[in-house]
């Protein structure tokens, strides 16, 4: 148990935890001790020797110079940061580092947010006296994200400690020795880690800098920034986008102790450039005519009113979005209600909706412990089921890596190995749809086990039996309600005396959990059936590319055939906006304010930046304008707006109380909202093992539509392929590189790749969010 002790720092007494790190104690209390190698997430190593202070075990003993990062608080300890000898020593350490550091501050990319600059000023080193030549290095090509400039290195080892020790990356190292230590890859090449961008932040100087930011460089103090929430997956990391001259220049993580803490993944950091993509919508369109966005909004209302007048209110439907805020989706619902209709859907399919609604309901139900990212780091045994965690919720993966570092075994149930599998205790390659059954077998030790899974289940059961804080992570983005249910059951069953199992689901978008909790939404089939049966004539779509919900462009075109009027609000050009009668452009996510609910039911406010440009309205503003144009503006004021999703009705959540720098609030639903009833577990989709099952593989780079518009992400996205287990390919007499035509069986074809870390009898294809512009260009090329 923690024990309070009293220590004295620069003459003032502080009560602190015994054993706490002295440097952290000081930093937490605003007592700035210069330091480099220490990082709250990476811990102390004592390499830079900068954080020296005079430390005495008690007031009657003389103080000795020691490193505060390597000292733990003990009762009576006396620390003097301002001790003359300590100050002189720190100054000298900076002088040491400056012996070889280039004097390129005025042109250095790091200038203005350089820790070395700050620490130099803080340490009062001003005069450089060395007259000897400085060491120089050759730099490496490290891929599209990171620029390398070794001459600036001060050898604090933060990069390898983050990259290798913390994020378990395997391609960055420290080479050489004495005053010739080099940090880089064994040979030039793209950094493999999904978290490589954090090197930019952990490096205290400009050795690793953001390559994109550096290309059109701006000084950090010239950037307009506002705390936002990442838009590229359901984890909801807090980020700090920076704009200058109307374009987004970079994204950095912002500290959020309850979510991502210090770091973000490379999709989050480098995906934001979609904001600058040429296909961003810059003007409104109405039946091919380019007009002012607000004029389009007004015209849309006119058309919708006319359709309602002609065919009745039920002839209008809406499709909301998991990448738009709660407020925007709420406004869409209100607009629809103002028109007299209730048909609003949020998901790609009924199955995805069912799974997401069940998962979200469980998440906020309070019936089981739901793990946040910091909670995940403390798990002592982890089960991941139903997908590639690294690709689909990367920062969860980084938290699991912390659990792994602390010794937690990880067991993965998925059809195809992903990045996390290399650190897992064991992985079982399963057919899609069978994860639920396997998870149940692990939890129920009396259940019989098939021979193939014997070793896996036995090991998993043993690890579970040995654990005190197991954790289950399951996908809620693939429409597998049985898996959602099985993970819930697993959590309940394995929470026993002395063991608390926790749970988390990951979803398909940054606000998928939020829209999954919507009351009175419809299954998507209600919308598509209505269109097919000519009952629905007009469709309003919010920030959503419907073409991604269909397996082919023909199917998509067929589904839209009967629509009389399609209006889309979005910030980017998509296949849907291209097909729309009316396009109302809104600003990008990072220019919008609103609320997202992340995977754990945490509502996080984000602040938008007002950036001058042809489009200035947010999606919510446009929708509110449309509601007002209907003369129904009253619906916006008051309760209806904020309770559109019923999330605040019986919870402590008051959205307006959330400040942008808040860590967010986790929603708990009251008894009034029963978890949506769930259909009995759906049977595995491909029951005959002889049939091939299709596995759509998500990638961190390439599968998410917004980030795919960022050039460095697109550069790293996979090319289309079809993957098979080598044995399966052998049976089919297919070899690597041959064209695998499975159009009849699975509707896919392409060049074959062999992958022995893919389940048998499964065919994998990448989910590729090919930008609209490229798709049409490809089409033109094919036609030509």
């Amino acid at each position: 148990m923690s024990q309070k002790v009293t220590i004295t720092i620069d003459g003032r007494a502080y009560e602190v935890e015994a054993g706490e790190n002295i440097l952290q104690i000081c930093l937490d209390r605003g007592l700035l001790i210069p330091h480099f190698c220490y990082h709250e997430a990476l811990g102390p190593v004592g390499a830079c020797r900068l954080c020296a202070a005079s430390i005495a075990p008690s007031a009657d003993k003389p103080g000795r110079l020691d490193m505060t990062c390597m000292t733990r608080a003990a009762d009576g300890m006396v620390i003097n940061i301002n001790d003359d000898y300590a100050r002189a020593f720190r100054k000298k350490v900076i002088e040491d580092l400056m012996l070889n550091h280039p004097h390129d501050c005025p042109v250095c990319d790091e200038g203005g947010e350089c820790m070395l600059q700050n620490m130099t000023v803080l340490s009062e080193h001003q005069h450089r006296s060395t007259r000897f030549p400085k060491r120089t290095w050759e730099n490496q090509y490290l891929g599209p994200f990171i620029h390398h400039e070794m001459n600036r290195c001060i050898t604090c080892y933060r990069c390898t400690r983050f990259y290798g020790d913390y994020a378990l990356g395997r391609d960055l190292g420290a080479f050489g020795s004495r005053n010739r230590v080099y940090f880089g890859r064994v040979r030039d090449g793209v950094l493999e880690s999904e978290f490589s961008g954090n090197l930019v932040d952990v490096c205290p100087t400009g050795v690793f800098t953001d390559k994109r930011f550096r290309e059109v460089y701006a000084r950090p103090w010239d950037l307009s920034t506002a705390r936002s929430v990442c838009v590229h997956c359901s984890v909801g990391c807090t980020v700090l986008p920076g704009f200058r001259h109307g374009t987004l220049r970079r994204i950095k993580p912002a500290e959020n102790s309850a979510v991502n803490r210090f770091f973000i993944c490379d999709r989050g950091r480098f995906g934001g450039e979609y904001v600058n993509h040429p296909s961003r919508l810059r003007s409104g369109r109405l039946e091919g005519q380019v007009i002012d966005p607000e004029e389009v909004a007004d015209a849309v209302i006119g058309r919708l009113k006319a359709i309602v007048a002609e065919h009745g209110p039920q002839s209008v439907a809406a499709l909301g979005s998991s990448r738009a805020s709660l407020e925007a989706n709420a406004a869409l619902g209100i607009l629809l209600a103002a028109l007299g209709s209730q048909t609003i859907a949020f998901f790609a399919s009924d199955a995805e909706r069912a799974a997401a609604r069940r998962a979200a309901a469980i998440t906020v139900s309070g019936q089981v412990r739901v793990a946040s990212l910091p909670d995940m780091e403390k798990a002592d045994c982890v089960f991941v089921a139903g997908g590639d965690l690294t690709a689909e919720a990367a920062m969860m993966d980084l938290s699991i890596r912390q659990a792994i570092r602390a010794g937690a075994p990880v067991f993965i149930l998925s059809p195809r190995a992903g990045s996390l599998d290399q650190y897992a205790r064991m992985s079982l390659r399963v057919r899609p749809g069978t994860e639920a059954a396997m998870l149940s077998q692990i939890a129920d030790s009396s259940a019989p086990v098939g021979t193939e899974a014997q070793a896996f289940v036995t090991a998993a059961r043993q690890a579970l039996a040995d654990s005190k804080h197991p954790l289950v992570l399951a996908s809620a983005m693939r429409g597998d309600t049985a898996l959602v249910e099985a993970a819930f059951e697993f959590t309940r069953r394995t929470t026993t005396e002395g063991r608390v199992c926790s749970l988390a689901y990951w979803f398909s978008g940054p606000n998928a959990a939020g829209v999954a909790l919507a009351n009175g939404d419809s299954p998507p089939s209600a919308v598509w059936d209505g269109i097919r049966d000519n009952r629905i004539k007009a469709l309003i779509v919010l920030e959503r590319d419907l073409s991604r919900d269909f397996s082919s462009e023909n199917e998509f075109a067929a589904a839209l055939k009967n629509i009389r009027f399609l209006a889309v609000i979005d910030s980017i050009e998509t296949a849907t906006t291209t097909a729309a009668n009316a396009v109302i452009p809104c600003v990008s996510h990072y220019q919008s304010s609103g609320t997202f609910m992340n995977f754990e039911g945490r509502c996080q406010r984000f602040a938008g930046l007002h950036i001058p440009g042809p489009v200035t309205r947010t999606n919510s503003e446009l929708l509110i304008r449309m509601i007002e144009a209907l003369g129904e503006g009253d619906r916006i004021a008051g309760a209806e707006y904020s309770t559109a999703y019923d999330i605040s009705a019986d919870s402590s959540l008051e959205l307006d109380a959330l400040e942008p720098d808040h860590v967010g609030v986790r929603v708990r639903l009251g008894s009034h909202l029963q978890p949506p009833s769930v259909a009995p577990a759906n049977p595995p989709t491909a029951s005959s093992p002889l049939q091939f099952a299709l596995w759509r593989t998500h990638f961190l780079f390439g599968s998410e539509e917004l980030s795919m518009l960022a050039p460095p992400i697109a550069e790293l996205s996979p090319k289309p392929w079809v993957e098979m287990h080598p044995e399966d390919a052998r049976h089919r007499r297919l070899t690597e590189g041959a064209t695998a035509d499975l159009t009849k069986e699975l509707g896919v074809s392409g060049p074959l790749r062999l992958n022995d870390r893919l389940a048998r009898h499964v065919v994998a294809v990448p989910v590729l969010a090919v930008p609209c512009a490229e798709r049409s260009r490809e089409r033109e090329e094919v036609m030509a």
Partner: protein
């Protein structure tokens, strides 16, 4: 000359063939181990404590006390490591021990391993001693054949598996935590303490690292008793010490002498006095990393406490001797170059500071010194005391004493430039 104990089978003037098993046993070899195996492990530890044995690797930490930090109730694997990474400039005692009498070391390791119930051991040998490693490997095989290593040693029920590890070469490997990292196949950066190796060392298991000479004392202590050992040497430093002398003496060499022998006796009687017409100017007493002593201190007895009292350290007790013909600026340049080259590169003052010192000293030596260089060197000498491990403080020993005790020589260089004679031969790289 007093009784040769550790060196009784060794001709220090010529490396001969290593002492054979038969000869070793005939001379009373393995009796210490036999005695130890008849005792309980804790009794063996007590004997070593009572003997007053202090580590011969340089630090002089009481061996029995160091051992007592190893948890005896620990169930998992514990490791014993012999540090034979003898790379301390001016030190050449362990070479004699492992090349010439490997069984003595093996016996010492058996005793230590038994005392702490360590069933696996390594002898970490520097690469340049690879021929010595061969004789050790040969001796290990013989010892195994004779039931002294492997399973159930001499029917005692105690297992001890011993092997050699040939280092890839780096001075810092002599630091025990760096050595452990190196043995684990890592870069030899020192580790932070705590945790100490005794509780969390090699592969995270309890580990003891002892110097060759320390381990070689054990067979004799166990065979002849703690009080016998304690009767040799001084109150605070019992036993004999292998003392060496190199540099400007007439007869450089190694001698086993009781702790506390006056430095002057070694210099004059054993090493035969000055090698050249010049008188002695200074001595670095314990391998390079100890402060210089001047002729007025030559009556200092060579034991841990007396040398410490004289402001230096006994270290390895291998004296490096300078005479009046030696230019201390040139000497300092050589000394500091060694440290700059062998720094592991982990912490700032050592990695950056020592090469900076070297740049300055070299500039002074080459006649390119500047006003302000000496105060800078003074500051740097203080500065490098606060490093991660003892490497840079080790460098500070000879460096600070040189710029303090022979400051006038540096001042002369700064005033008059480099004298032609002191400039090193052309073509030398540094």
């Amino acid at each position: 000359m007093s009784e040769r104990i550790l060196l009784k089978n060794i001709d220090t003037t010529r490396p001969g063939p290593p002492c054979s098993y038969d000869r070793y046993v005939k001379g009373g070899g393995y009796e210490g181990a036999r005695a130890a195996l008849r005792m309980t492990p804790l009794e063996v530890q007590q004997v070593v404590k009572d003997s007053g044995l202090r580590g011969r690797g340089g630090a002089g930490f009481p061996t029995g006390l160091k051992w007592s930090f190893v948890p005896m109730d620990f169930k998992g694997q514990k490791y014993l490591i012999c540090n034979c990474d003898e790379m301390e400039p001016g030190t050449f005692k362990d070479r004699a021990l492992i090349y010439n009498d490997p069984h003595q070391l093996i016996e010492g390791m058996i005793i230590a391993a038994y005392a702490m119930q360590m069933t696996k051991g390594f002898i970490f040998i520097r690469y340049e001693y690879r021929k010595g490693a061969e004789s050790v490997n040969h001796a290990i095989a013989i010892a195994e054949k004779n039931g002294w290593l492997g399973r159930n040693i001499q029917g005692s029920g105690f297992d001890f598996h011993l092997e050699t590890h040939l280092s890839a070469g780096r001075y810092i490997c002599g630091e025990e935590t760096a050595l452990i990292n190196s043995l684990e196949g890592r870069r030899a950066n020192p580790r932070s303490k705590p945790p100490f190796p005794q509780t969390k060392g090699f592969l995270g298991q309890p580990t003891i690292v002892n110097n060759v000479e320390t381990l070689c004392c054990l067979p004799h202590i166990l065979a002849r008793g703690a009080s016998w050992f304690k009767s040799i040497g001084t109150e605070g430093s019992s036993g004999t010490k292998i003392v060496g002398a190199s540099g400007r003496v007439r007869r450089p060499g190694l001698w086993e002498l009781p702790m506390g022998v006056p430095m002057r006796t070694v210099l004059e009687e054993y090493a035969g006095g000055p090698a050249r017409e010049h008188g002695f100017k200074a001595v670095i007493p314990g391998g390079l990393s100890t402060p210089m002593m001047t002729p007025d201190q030559f009556d200092t007895p060579l034991d841990f406490d007396s040398v410490a009292k004289a402001g230096s350290r006994l270290g390895t007790a291998c004296l490096i001797v300078f005479d009046e013909g030696d230019c201390m600026v040139n000497v300092t340049e050589n000394i500091i170059r060694f440290y700059a080259r062998e720094s592991c590169g982990f912490c700032t003052p050592c990695r950056e500071g020592i090469p900076y010192i070297h740049d300055i000293v070299k500039a002074i030596r080459d006649g390119a010194g500047c006003e302000g260089d000496l105060p800078t060197l003074d500051e740097m000498a203080k500065h490098i005391m606060h490093t991660f491990c003892a490497f840079a403080p080790g460098a500070q020993g000879p460096f600070l004493s040189a710029i303090t005790k022979f400051r006038h020589e540096f001042e002369n260089y700064l005033r008059a430039g480099a004298p032609a004679a002191a400039t090193p031969a052309a073509g030398r790289q540094s």
